[in-house]
Structures are given as structure tokens and as C-alpha cells.
Amino acid sequence: MSTPMVLAEGVHKRFGRLEVLRGISLEVQPGQVMCMLGPSGSGKSTFLRCINHLEKIEAGRLSVDGELVGYRQEGDRLHELREADVVRKRAEIGMVFQRFNLFPHMTALQNVCEAPVQVRGVPREQARERGAELLARVGLGHRLSAYPSQLSGGQQQRVAIARALAMDPKLMLFDEPTSALDPELVGEVLDVMRGLAADGMTMIVVSHEIGFAREVADTMVFIDEGLVVESGPPEQVISAPQHERTRAFLSKVL
């Protein structure tokens, strides 16, 4: 098979004395959608942040598209990456946050154009055209000049997705993208994500939307206390969990 988009082997991460990740191993192939499930504090979000170089891992190996995350290998020694290299790699990975994190002082269109112009040096006019296209794609073509505070939660999250897509990422990370939304707004965000998956985007989604996972995900992993407890096709993990902890968790979520 081709190079996996994400390959984790025994990834460890510690915050002070607290071991958050205790040896995560998993693999995501290009074009696949992986859903991550697990109780809060299990390390799902931390793992996503590691993939995007927002956290540094302490042991194990983590690579994106065949390149190590955060380090460079020379012979058998690892060297920490400089900021310029880290930044370049981050730009290729889109991330969507639970709390949207839109830039409140910029309009929807400015939010989407900011990174292409600043990071990639795309001419402003071209970035605006592309930004308007992307906002139209997430169903917000009519709200280009709205500030985030004038948008509903669902609309804000869709702008955030468009903002991430503007960098043409090869991988999208979703950190509980619908957890901060009113129930009636969840659907519109999931629709956009469904569209992305259908277009062949490689995605890792931390979410408790079991229905979405069942429908869209190629694999599903259940993480608890910093370890992958169970993984497999969503149908199997959801309907016939092998482990007691998975079963206990699912009985509360379903």
C-alpha cells in the first residue's frame, strides 16, 4: 500500500507528571476518514495536536505523509525542527477546533483569506476569489462580510472549515467540531464534513457523533487513558465492541 497519511507508533506525551498518551499506534491511509472516540481526558485532542506540531511528542514515532512530525532524522539521531520547518508542515494540515477560534476582528472572508495571503503569499485578489468560492461551498456565500459574532455557531464552524480548506491541506483534523453547537446546528456542519469525505479528503475526526462515524468513517478507534483500546470498521466497533471499556462508554453515548 502507499505511504500512510498518518502513521503513529507508540506515541507518548506527558504534561508534567501526567502521562496523557501512553503509546498510541495507528495508521490512516490517504483518502480515509478515521473517527476517534473516547471519554474526555483520554488523550484524543492531545493526539490531534501532536499531529499538527502543536505539541511535541516525547517517545515513539509519528509521521505525516512519510515525514516525521517535529523532528528530522539524520543517521540514527533525531534533530528538533526549526520554527520555519514546523510552520511549513503545519500549513499542510488543516485543523478545526471545538470552539471555532475564528478571528473575531475579521469578516468571514478575511478569516478565510488571511493564511493564504500571509503564509503562502497568494495575491490578495486571488485569495478573495478563492475564499468566496470556499465559503459558497460551505453554504455561506451570502455572509462573506459578516463578522463571527454575527454568525450562528454552525455558521462559524463552517467558516472555520473553509478557513482550513483555503490552505489546500492534505489532511484535516477535527477536534470535536460539533460539541459546542446547539443540537439543531450540528447537522449543517456534519453535512459539510460529509461532503469533504466524499471528495476524498483524508480526515481524523474526534467526535461523539456516532451516526456520522457509522456513515462516513472508514475506521474507528476507541481511546482511553492514552491508549488505543479498540479499532476497526465503525460497524464492528459500535455494534460488536470487543472490550468492556468500549462497551461501557458506548452504552453511555448511544
Binding site: 499538527n52 502543536l54 520554527e83 520555519a84 510552520v87 511549513r88 503545519r90 500549513a91 499542510e92 494540515i93 488543516g94 485543523m95 477546533f97 470552539r99 477560534n101 475564528l102 478571528f103 473575531p104 476582528h105 475579521m106 469578516t107 488571511e114 493564511a115 500571509q118 503564509v119 463578522y147 463571527p148 459574532s149 454575527q150 472555520a160 478557513r163 482550513a164 490552505m167
Partner: protein, 313 residues
């Protein structure tokens, strides 16, 4: 309509409530009391011949006072410009992960915030005693590339500007730092996740949002600077205060001249306050759903109420 049974029928709108407003008798008593006291104060100032209001009028537009006013305003603008730029640099330095950089910034703030600004003004003025020649060259006494005499470079104006500006930098650093820390961490995370560098994140995302917290105390600092700049009178720099002192040292109309400059200071602090108000509105963009009307807009609506609602006769 009738086939959609679940649609709630629009209800008849009841009449507007016409309630009797709560009465505030105490407010009226207070208003009368305040009016009487104010009138008495005005009468006492106007009728007291020792105020010599004629002299106040003579000197209010005196050219020496105007020149002093100009120096005061120049000093305030330049010192604040130095202070704000320095403050931003120091604040960013202070938040740097490099201990040498953050330590340097802390040291600067410690020195310049820890000594009286009056002393700093005097020290800058006498810098020539320590370094008669100010030169750019090889360190540890090597050959000079450029050299100027301190007394020609550090004029009283430059000394005052440097002292006030460098001192202000230390205070602004704390204000800017508080502003930066007030911005949600998720903002930095989001922009870093998009591939922006720390510097781009700071300049494009964090600082513009920090402005909302930075502007009000900065306006305060500017108003304070306008008045603190009067300290340069100790180095015989003819600002507004020193110009008045020069005049009253010859004609002994001390009180009148002090009143003249007090009114001038008041006029400019008022202008600055108005400027601050509009600046705060500008940086509040996007943070509120709709902004409250400015006093001017409210006044216009009171005078020309027809504009509201665009209306029915």
C-alpha cells in the same frame, strides 16, 4: 393557511403599556442644590477682583504661551510614540520563551519604572557630563566611526523627549502585555495551525485583538503624559508650564498665568478624551453585535427625531 393546522395563528397585539413612571423627588432636590452651589461658585470667581480676569484674557492668547503649548504637544506626541513602540517591543520580548530576551525586557521595566521620571529627565539632561562625546564605533574604546558632542545632540528637548518616552515605554510594556494575555489562547493556536509564524500571529491576530484592552489605558497614559510633560520645566525647556513661569517671574501675575495654562491643559485633555472614545469604538469592531450610538449621533436624533425609523407621519 387553513390546511396547515399546526401553524400558530397570529395573535392580536395588545395595546402598548402606558404605565405611570416612578417619581424621583430626591433627584429634583439634588439638582436644585447642585445648581445653586455651581451658580455660587461661578459668582464668587466672577465677582472676586483678585482673579483679575482681564489679565487672564490678555495672556490666554499670548504668543509665548502658544509656543509653550506647541512644545508641550510635540513632547507629548513624540514621547507617547516612543513609549508605545517601545512598549509593544518590550511586551513581546517579555513573553518570549528565550530567558535572555524576556529577562532583558524585565530589567528595562525594573529600571525605568523604578526611578522617578523627574530624576530621569535631569539625568538625560546631564548625560553630557558622563559622555561628552556620543559616538558609534568599535566597542571597548576602539576607533570611532561617527562622533557628536553630547550637548549638541541631547538638547533639552531631546533630553525631555527621551526621558518621558523611555519611561513611558516601561509602563506601556505592562499595558501591552496585559492586552496580549487577554486574547484567547485559541486564537494563537488557530493561526499557528494555519501555518503562521509566531511573529505573524502576533502582528495579524493577537495584537489587533489586544488593542481593545490596550487602547483605554493608553488614552489614559496620553492624557497623563500631556500633564507629566510639565516636569521638563526643571531643565528650562519652554513648554506650556515653563513659559507661564517665565512670564510670571517678571510680572508676578502668578495665579492668572497658572489659570491660563490650566485651561489650556484642560482643553487638550478634553480633545484627547474624545479621540480616545472614537478609537475605542474602532477597535471594538466585530466584538459587539451593534455598537451604541455616539453622543453626537444621539444628539442628532434628539434634534431631528424624524430620521429615526424613517417614518410615518
Amino acid at each position: 393557511m387553513s390546511d396547515v393546522a399546526a401553524e400558530p395563528a397570529p395573535q392580536q397585539r395588545p395595546d402598548d403599556i402606558k404605565a405611570v413612571p416612578v417619581k424621583h423627588p430626591l433627584r429634583w432636590v439634588m439638582a436644585v442644590l447642585v445648581a445653586v452651589l455651581a451658580a455660587d461658585a461661578v459668582w464668587s470667581a466672577a465677582s472676586n477682583p483678585r482673579f483679575q480676569w482681564g489679565i487672564f484674557g490678555d495672556f490666554f492668547f499670548d504668543s509665548r504661551i502658544f509656543h509653550g503649548l506647541q512644545i508641550t504637544l510635540e513632547l507629548t506626541v513624540l514621547a507617547m510614540a516612543i513609549g508605545i513602540l517601545l512598549g509593544i517591543v518590550l511586551a513581546v520580548m517579555r513573553l518570549s520563551p528565550n530567558p535572555l530576551i524576556s529577562g532583558g525586557a524585565s530589567f528595562y521595566v525594573w529600571i525605568f519604572r523604578g526611578t522617578p521620571v523627574l530624576v530621569q529627565i535631569l539625568l538625560w539632561n546631564y548625560i553630557g557630563a558622563l559622555y561628552p562625546e556620543i559616538s558609534l564605533g568599535v566597542p571597548f574604546g576602539g576607533p570611532d566611526l561617527v562622533s557628536v558632542s553630547a550637548n549638541s545632540l541631547i538638547t533639552p528637548f531631546v533630553a525631555g523627549m527621551l526621558a518621558l518616552g523611555l519611561n513611558e515605554g516601561a509602563y506601556m510594556a505592562e499595558i501591552v502585555r496585559a492586552g496580549i494575555l487577554s486574547v484567547d489562547e485559541g486564537q494563537g493556536e488557530a493561526s499557528q495551525a494555519l501555518g503562521m509564524t509566531r511573529l505573524q500571529t502576533m502582528r495579524r491576530i493577537v495584537l489587533p485583538q489586544a488593542m481593545r484592552v490596550i487602547v483605554p489605558p493608553t488614552g489614559n497614559e496620553t492624557i497623563s503624559m500631556l500633564k507629566t510633560s510639565s516636569l521638563v520645566s526643571v531643565i528650562a525647556l519652554a513648554d506650556l508650564t515653563y513659559s507661564a513661569q517665565l512670564i510670571y517671574s517678571t510680572n508676578y501675575k502668578t495665579i492668572q498665568l497658572l489659570l491660563v495654562i490650566s485651561v489650556w491643559y484642560l482643553i487638550f485633555t478634553t480633545i484627547l478624551s474624545v479621540g480616545q472614545y472614537y478609537l475605542e469604538r474602532r477597535f471594538g469592531r466585530g466584538s459587539m453585535r451593534g455598537q451604541a450610538l455616539t453622543p453626537l449621533q444621539r444628539l442628532r436624533l434628539t434634534v431631528f427625531p424624524r430620521h429615526e425609523g424613517g417614518g410615518a407621519l
